[in-house]
Amino acid sequence: MSKKILVADDDPAIVDCVKMMLELDGYEVSTTVDGETIFKMEKEYPDLLLLDIWMSGQDGREICKYLKKKKLTQNIPIIMISANKDAKRIAKEAGADDFIAKPFEMEDVLNKVRHYVNN
């Protein structure tokens, strides 16, 4: 059974191309451009979350902190994505497992996803 990955970014193009990348690598990908949906997420949890730091209307850091606090979701690996130079620090502060800086190499994204999904 293929692993499920949720991609959350407020830019539809990013969501679209990241989805394609991951699907090419055989993952089952769901997407959202609205942070609110992650808060409301129930039951069908993904195996990994790719989360943009700046979601319009929502702060990616808050979402990350929320998920890491919640018992049911705290074990989902979260990789934060950002165009900000300080992506690494921000990700660390929010409690994310890893980070990817925009723009990214497809290879990097796939390597990191594989790493967390397989562990």
């Binding site: 394609m20 165009a83 723009p103 990214f104 190499e105």
Partner: protein, 693 residues
């Protein structure tokens, strides 16, 4: 029954008395002439025999004939014997002297001394003292008394005394003393005269060589008696000595000088002139030149204390006055200018003491001159910015280097606005700083515009990154698809597209950093990190980007370094990327690290195109690129090294390059290992300085 004396009895008694008188006189004579050794005196208590023990006839003759007085007296001071010399000295007949008291001939004021002499003499030997003796009719005279004990009849103690009249000797002594004195006086006078002559010579010399203008005028017409060489030069070596001033220096007419001299001669009051303008014919060619003098006219007096002339002592100050007039004029022009420009302007002494602000300063700050004078400006500075301002300003004062800085100044409305402050030293001909000229320009509008520009660039570059990210991702997805389809040509095209997208990404990153650097908003997150570890990571990443180059590591022992790991990583990336970029035909790149004292140095060596010597110091400037025929092959905005050098500078290090054209370049940078510690030390220093203000 009393018997009546007969005529016969009376005659007999008379003869008897005459006989006894003659006998007595004979005895006295005999004693005086030493013919008698002893004599019997009939007293109330019966006859007493006095013998001069050891008396010798010869001595007695000698004693009688000498000028000195010789006296013998008993222990009660009764004179038993005196010679004629003594009698003459005291002016009393010998008959009356014998039997009288010795002390009656001693001056009252010398009685004490005399008694002391006696008591000393009783001890045995002869003693002498100068004692005044009373002479009847003429008063006291100095005498030398020489006293010795003597045994009298029946071993009774007595005294023998020789007196020598010293008045003659004294007079002589006085004469000699006076003579000596006058001789000394003469000598002294001579010496004085010589000294006076010397002084006069010195004075004349001083006169002639003094760096001042000196002249002596005599008589009410002010006739030049003397003028020193400087004075002569001043008047064009005209023949002035012996001439009255009105004739000697006719150009002074109407300038008030003659009148001044007349008044000094008349009143005797000295006149002090300060920077007085005199139009003088200095070359003797009839042309008058403006000259300024500080001078004194002092009346001189003759031995009868009557004014007989005037001494002129003057110093020419023309150059100073003219220079000052120039300065005053330029100062006036400067102030007019300074008051009419929109900047805040001020001037300070060489030591930084601000003595003048333009009115705009007071208008903006709402302060009064008394509050601002000197270092009063500190009160309108922001306390957070002040220590750095003070430190930099003091550095400039010490080194003489111009000062430039942006810092906030508080306005009348209590709001701080950023001001660009520039201070330049004003130097004299010798290069010595005489003052500082400062301007403060309100740049809040520029700052606001800059901020807007930075914000725009920040947002723009962030926004640009989003589509670039998706373009890159789509491209890579496509690459994967075409790879799987086996369309190699399409894959190659897409790889080229990806490389271009990477360049675009770097450009966006550099632009963002440059903006941040220029606005001072390049943020640093400093902490301790493993320096060699970072170097290894960067090399690993970059090794992946090049197949051609082999990046060699030669890492020394370096412990943790306190700096921003990301930023330092950015610099190392930039240096290695450059090495790759600028060595397209060689393979080796060497990265070295080493620790020296409290610094760590990293170098990146390539064997590529190199940089010409003249351009080596420019590579760290904004927009510099290695140019030449191969320009097109070396892309980039030339921002990378600029950003790197700014990062290294901000981290307290240095960056430099060694290079040879055609042989390659080595880029270096160093960093303080424990900046944290240094920072703390500096902070406490600055803190101390502020407290000492």
């Amino acid at each position: 029954m009393k018997k009546q004396k007969t005529q016969q009895e009376i005659v007999r008694e008379n003869e008897d008395l005459r006989g006894r008188l003659e006998e007595a006189e004979e005895t006295l004579r005999a004693i005086r002439h030493g013919e008698v050794d002893a004599l019997v005196v009939k007293g109330k208590e019966g006859p007493r025999i006095y013998t001069l023990k050891g008396a010798d006839h010869t001595y007695r003759v000698l004693i009688e004939s000498m000028n000195e007085g010789a006296v013998t007296f008993d222990s009660s001071g009764i004179i038993l014997y005196a010679n004629q010399g003594f009698s003459d000295m005291i002016g009393i007949p010998l008959k009356k002297v014998i039997g009288s008291m010795i002390i009656s001939y001693i001056a009252i004021e010398d009685l004490k001394v005399f008694k002391k002499l006696l008591s000393e003499s009783r001890v045995g030997s002869r003693h002498e003292k100068e004692i005044q003796i009373v002479k009847k009719g003429t008063g006291n005279f100095p005498s030398l008394l020489s006293v010795a004990p003597i045994d009298l009849e029946n071993d009774k103690p007595g005294m023998s005394m020789i007196t020598t009249d010293l008045s003659g000797q004294k007079q002589h002594e006085q004469l000699i003393a006076e003579e000596k004195l006058s001789e000394q006086r003469l000598k002294h006078e001579k010496a004085l005269r010589r000294e006076i002559e010397n002084e006069q010579n010195k004075l004349t010399e001083l006169f002639m060589q003094a760096p001042a203008l000196i002249a002596i005028l005599k008589e009410p017409q002010h006739i030049f008696e003397l003028a020193n060489p400087l004075y002569m030069q001043l008047v064009g070596m005209r023949d002035i000595v012996g001439k009255p001033i009105r004739e000697a220096l006719p150009e002074l007419k109407g300038q008030g000088i003659y009148e001044l001299l007349d008044s000094v001669y008349k009143t005797g009051k000295p006149y002090f002139g300060n920077e007085v303008l005199v139009k003088l014919d200095r070359k003797g060619d009839g042309k008058l030149e403006d000259s300024y003098f500080n001078f004194v006219y002092q009346a001189s007096r003759n031995s009868k204390n009557k004014i007989d002339g005037i001494l002129i002592y003057a110093i020419e100050v023309t150059e100073q006055v003219k220079a000052r007039q120039l300065v005053e004029e330029s100062e006036e022009k400067f102030r007019t200018l300074a008051e009419n420009i929109p900047n805040l302007v001020w001037t300070a002494n060489a030591d930084g003491w601000i003595y003048w602000y333009n009115s705009r300063w007071y208008k903006y700050t709402g302060t009064k001159p008394a509050q601002m004078e000197g270092w009063g400006w500190k009160s309108v500075h922001h306390p957070d910015a002040l220590p750095h301002v003070l430190k930099k300003w003091k550095e400039s004062i010490t080194t003489g280097e111009p000062f430039e800085m942006v810092f906030p100044i508080k306005g009348k409305d209590k709001k701080f606005r950023p001001f660009l402050t520039r201070v330049i030293p004003v130097k004299d001909k010798k290069g010595k700083i005489i003052k500082w000229f400062g301007t403060n320009t309100d740049i809040s509008k520029q700052k606001e515009l800059e901020r807007q520009k930075d914000d725009f660039l920040g947002i723009a570059s962030h926004e640009l990154k989003t589509p670039v990210t998706s373009i890159k991702a789509y491209g890579q997805v496509l690459q994967t698809i075409f790879t799987r389809k086996g369309d190699q040509k399409a894959v190659e095209q897409l790889q080229k597209m990806d490389a271009q997208i990477n360049k675009l990404t770097n450009l966006i990153g550099d632009l963002l950093d440059v903006t941040k650097i220029q606005s001072g908003r390049l943020e640093f997150h400093e902490d301790y990190f493993d320096f060699n570890g970072l170097v290894g990571e960067v090399i690993d990443d970059l090794q992946l980007t090049t197949e051609k180059h082999k990046i060699k590591q030669e890492l020394g022992k370096v412990k943790k370094v306190y700096a921003d790991r990301e930023r330092i990583g950015q610099v190392i990336t930039n240096l290695i990327s450059n090495a790759i970029k600028y060595s397209p035909h060689t393979k080796k790149i060497i990265v070295r690290t080493k620790k020296e004292k409290n610094k760590v140095t990293l170098s990146v060596e390539d064997f590529g195109v190199g940089i010409p010597k003249a351009k080596q110091d420019k590579v760290f400037k904004q927009f510099f690129r290695v140019s030449g025929p191969k320009l097109s092959t070396f892309p980039g905005l030339g921002l990378g090294l600029y950003v790197s050098s700014e990062i290294i500078k901000r981290e307290g290090g240095q960056i430099w390059v060694e290079s040879q054209v055609g042989k390659g370049s080595t880029f270096y940078f160093n960093l303080p290992i424990d900046k944290q510690k240094i920072k703390q030390q500096q902070n406490s220093l600055v803190q101390n300085e502020i407290q000492h203000e």
